[in-house]
Amino acid sequence: MHKLFWFFCGMLVWPTFGQDPMTDGAIKELKHLVSKNAQDIQSIQSDFTQYKHLDFLSNDIVTHGKMWFKTPDRVKWQYTEPYTYTLIFSGDRMHIEDQGKKSSVDMGASKQFQKLNELIVNSVRGDMFGMSDFEVSFMAYPEYYEATFRPKDKKIAHYIASFVLSFDRTTGMVQEVKMIEPSSDYTRIVFTNRSINGDIPDAIFDQ
């Protein structure tokens, strides 16, 4: 009986082991670091791995590629494996290149796309704390801080349950972006080989 009691106690404690809510001081410090980064960062170049998790599939769908960001609002996602596909967000437009075929979408016509673009640009820099239409909660892990942004607007909440950003505890840089959908399916993007403020020619964002 004793063993069973301690087993259940262990089960209750186990899922939260290694994670703690952040203190007010740590939250303030992280926000300051992220805000400073956002001001200092003019460009980012990084490799990424994207994991698309769908509950009904046995395995996540894994894709790899490169990402470029340049202030104020240009982002390029170039998928290289297992297929080639490029998305360029520039102002109100989204350009697509799919195996040589090019097209362009005016995101100004769709508030949904516009919001998604704003979220993507801000999440790449980590600078989402200024977005008043999200409720934010924080957790501290031994290796990183985690901020979860839940939309207040029901229309946005209809297609995004939350955005979860993982920050390096020392640099305040975004390591991972996780976009969780209302169904609990999610897209997780992990950044590696990041280069900050390197020279990125404007031609990278040409369509």
């Binding site: 297992p82 195996q99 959908e181 399916d185």
Partner: protein
């Protein structure tokens, strides 16, 4: 007593019905088919079917990923995601029921929903029962009559090669399969010639 007017109406109706038959089978001799057909391409419940999608609508091109899985007897789950992984639609298809768990607002239109349900019903239906068959030089053609329209299944060497969907005798959509092993489709091309819409699915595994 049958009047000449009634005869004229009956013969006109027969001519009209005959003219609605798919032109692909005109001139071929129909035969009584044996048993059911087998569409193997989404039939393995243990397998994740993952495809890259390239969609062309008139002058626009879009891309994404399509995941299909058989989640029960005659039940398939179909999810299409956009470039950065956002779900465009999430459809659950049963034998005589279709339910969208999620669909992006810009796609949430009755004609688009109908088209998606029609296309994926055709692609995932495993054992259609033909009412007629026709022998050709390179193909065996099987005619299946679901509730709406008419389907022609083209079999090459006992492998499903193509499906065509007809409405009032006119082809509305075609589904061409490329399969090196006859079990899994490495490429599927869906064409809606009247709508200027085409989809190319390329297997990612």
């Amino acid at each position: 007593m049958v009047t000449s007017r009634t005869l004229f109406l009956i013969s006109s109706l027969l001519i009209f019905v005959w003219s609605c038959a798919p032109s692909r089978t005109k001139g071929l001799t129909p035969q009584q088919p044996m048993g059911e057909l087998w569409n193997p391409y989404f039939s393995d419940a243990a397998k994740d079917y993952v495809y890259q999608v390239q969609m062309t609508y008139k002058t626009h091109n879009f891309g994404g990923i399509l995941a299909i899985k058989k989640i029960g007897t005659n039940v398939h789950r179909i999810v299409c995601t956009g470039g950065i992984g956002n779900t465009l639609f999430d459809l659950e298809l049963k034998a005589d029921n279709a339910k969208f768990n999620q669909i992006l607002a810009v796609l949430d239109r009755k004609p688009i929903r109908k088209l998606l349900v029609q296309d994926f019903t055709v692609l995932t239906q495993e054992n259609p029962r033909p009412t007629r068959s026709y022998l050709q030089k390179n193909n065996d053609i099987f005619e299946v009559n679901p509730k709406q329209g008419k389907l022609l299944y083209f079999m090459k060497a006992n492998t499903l090669d193509k499906i065509e969907r007809y409405h009032w005798g006119k082809m509305e959509a075609s589904y061409q399969f490329r399969s090196p092993n006859g079990i899994q489709a490495s490429k599927i091309e869906v064409l809606h010639p009247k709508k200027g819409l085409s989809l190319t699915l390329t297997a990612l595994d």
